[in-house]
Symmetry: C2
Subunit: 72 residues, 2 copies
């Protein structure tokens, strides 16, 4: 699991936007860890796509294509 | 797409941790939108599981079970 990077307050807001009356601190932390793992997983595929295109910069299309591929 | 909630800087750090030399602003914003959509998707399932257990508070197990279900 990655070091904590994403802040908890916006994650709590997103779960409440999804319909939660209340979100425990542990629930928000667990979702933070899941989102960070997903960010790194998508990021690794995006980095591969950038390298494939001979770029050092990851651009929007790399991220979108990585996410599309991972949904399959 | 959800309103911007998650900050960009930690998302940029996560993609660089995944191996990126550089990440365009648009790429980080795109990943922010993807992560927010995933947070709401996982959150909605977690809310259903909390209600099923007759709780108003979403707890860690709701989030973990929601993510496991969505991976299938």
């Amino acid at each position: 699991m990655a070091k904590a990077e994403l802040p908890i307050a916006p994650i709590d807001r997103l779960v409440r936007k999804a319909g939660a009356g209340r979100v425990s601190a542990e629930a928000a932390e667990s979702l933070r860890d899941i989102l960070q793992d997903l960010a790194i997983d998508i990021g690794k595929v995006a980095v591969d796509f950038a390298r494939h295109a001979k770029r050092k910069t990851v651009v929007e299309d790399d991220v979108k294509l990585a996410y599309e591929q991972m949904k399959r």
